[in-house]
């Protein structure tokens, strides 16, 4: 690789950006590396925002990926509080607020995702201080305060974020009402049985679910809200937290020539449709050679490793990103883990009887594991979920009998 001086600009200040900047410095000590972010903090971990930070078990200042010293020592500039208004891909210049104007030779877009907003009739309620979304540290701090004050909280949306917040609220011995428009928790990617086990755990802790329920309207009555569901059920609440999914944060590029289809379309080398422009993390809809299709992921490990691979390719190493997708969710003492692709299979088999020993569903395609999803108390499924990733990555054929037999160790088939 030619180690000539370049201006490498990274926009977005999350996990993909932090790890990309670290990786660039492993290969290139000369180029200018600048991260431009809307955040007022250095890049930080988001998983604790719905879990340990909400229940005061982790301090917000302990969530940084790297300290200020790391960026200083590695000569990486982090420009905070910058909202980008425009990108000129021909002149290779970005402009933002506070007279920010920066040129680049190589650009990495890692702007992440943003919350999908819930549509409901009375828009005037959108700025209510007791109707909240979770995306960043400030949101988490607000929710942390509000859940201690509230009496009858409601969460709209039973995805991972909504359920994790509900589990956190339960630790203050408050019962949460959860509303979900579909028929099961955490979407159709999660096996129905696992979804039911998670629901049962929430119910045992006192939480109440309304599935198959659309919001008809939300009205304010004195200090409370009244949520009316489509079958005219009314729910009174003093705190509404909304978690109805995320969308790629691409609005600033939408009138440009950059190809965007459910995120910025990139190849397996993180390259976009425009030369010298790369994308990584939640914002990228990337080609995955192992599955032969494009996918967009919103997960911790993906953001980290996609950022690292984008950096390698920015530095000219030409390495394709083939990581098997992996994510987890913690709710109460339950740990859910998912690897690969669980919604495209021709056969499936389960392993384990209950959450005490761990229960895993393997999804197979032509006798090769395509995806796996497990649930257990503590980290009991972690090892086999990881082995499922490795077996899948190596495309090793494995029988349903072996996968379902808990006395057979899966590592000997690698």
């Amino acid at each position: 690789m030619k180690n000539e001086h370049k201006n490498i600009l990274i926009i977005g200040g999350g996990q993909a950006s932090a790890y990309a900047s670290q990786e660039i410095r492993k290969h290139d000590s000369k180029s200018t590396v600048t991260i431009v972010t809307e955040e007022k903090f250095l890049p930080y971990e988001r998983p604790p925002l719905s879990k340990n930070c909400l229940v005061d078990k982790r301090k917000y200042e302990d969530c940084l990926f790297f300290s200020e010293k790391f960026y200083d020592e590695n000569n990486i500039e982090v420009k905070k509080n910058i909202h980008i208004n425009n990108i000129d891909f021909n002149k290779k210049i970005i402009t933002g607020n506070s007279n920010c104007k920066l040129s680049y030779d190589k650009l990495l877009i890692a702007t992440g995702s943003k919350n999908r907003e819930l549509e409901f009739e009375n828009n005037d309620l959108k700025n209510e201080e007791n109707i909240l979304y979770l995306r960043n540290i400030d949101d988490s701090k607000k929710i942390n305060l509000k859940i201690k004050e509230c009496n009858n909280p409601v969460i709209i949306g039973c995805g991972f974020i909504g359920l994790e917040i509900a589990a956190s609220i339960s630790q203050f011995e408050k019962k949460v009402t959860l509303i979900e428009k579909s028929s099961q928790l955490m979407g159709r990617v999660i096996p129905e049985e696992i979804s039911k086990l998670v629901k049962l755990k929430h119910e045992q802790e006192g939480n109440i679910f309304f599935l198959n329920s659309n919001i008809k309207k939300i009205e304010k009555e004195n200090k409370e809200f009244v949520i009316t569901l489509d079958f005219n059920k009314e729910i009174k609440t003093d705190l509404i937290i909304i978690g109805v999914g995320s969308i790629p944060n691409t609005s600033v590029f939408e009138n440009s020539e950059l190809i965007i289809e459910n995120g910025i379309k990139v190849n397996e080398f993180c390259q976009s449709s425009i030369e010298d422009v790369f994308a990584a993390g939640d914002v990228a809809n990337f080609y995955h050679p192992h599955y032969g299709k494009y996918m967009r992921l919103e997960s911790y490990k993906h953001a980290q490793n996609h950022g690292i691979f984008a950096a390698k390719n920015i530095c000219g190493l030409k390495e394709s990103y083939v990581d098997i997708p992996w994510m987890w969710s913690d709710q109460f003492d339950l740990n859910l883990q998912l690897s690969g692709v669980c919604d495209d299979y021709d056969d499936m088999v389960s392993r384990g009887k209950d959450i005490r020993e761990g229960i895993i569903y393997f999804f197979l395609k032509k006798n090769i594991i395509h995806g796996a999803c497990g649930l257990a108390i503590g980290g009991k499924v972690a090892k086999n979920i990881r082995l499922a990733s490795k077996l899948s990555e190596k495309k090793i054929k494995i029988s349903k009998e072996i996968l379902s037999d808990t006395s057979t160790k899966l590592n000997k088939y690698l």
């Binding site: 009991k380 082995l387 590592n411």
Partner: protein, 104 residues
């Protein structure tokens, strides 16, 4: 000095390419059995206070069950993010088919 060696288990209690958790006082350790012998590290991941006992042991490495940070078992070195601080390692010996760890 002999008091520094603590009995962990019998050799047969740890399968090849696997580990056993060992708690002593307020500390948790992991004792591993690899092809070329027994090794020990701290039992808690340096990244986010997670027990490593459910992690995958493979190719002389232990992978955290929570965030998949990876450590070299023999040196304790963090080899894959998000782990960046190394694990402390401890001497291990086998006597009369029993595994001992020196936790000082």
């Amino acid at each position: 000095m002999s008091d520094d060696w603590k009995l962990v288990c019998k050799v047969e209690d740890i399968e090849m390419e696997d580990l056993i958790r060992f708690d002593h006082d307020d500390k948790t350790f992991c004792v591993y059995r690899l092809e070329d012998g027994f090794y020990a590290t701290d039992g808690i991941c340096t990244h986010e206070a997670v027990h490593l006992e459910e992690g995958l042991v493979m190719d002389s490495e232990i992978e955290c069950p929570m965030h998949q940070g990876i450590f070299d078992i023999k040196s304790g070195k963090a080899v894959s993010p998000p782990a960046c601080d190394d694990l402390k390692t401890y001497p291990v010996k086998v006597e009369n088919e029993e595994v001992y760890i020196n936790i000082n």
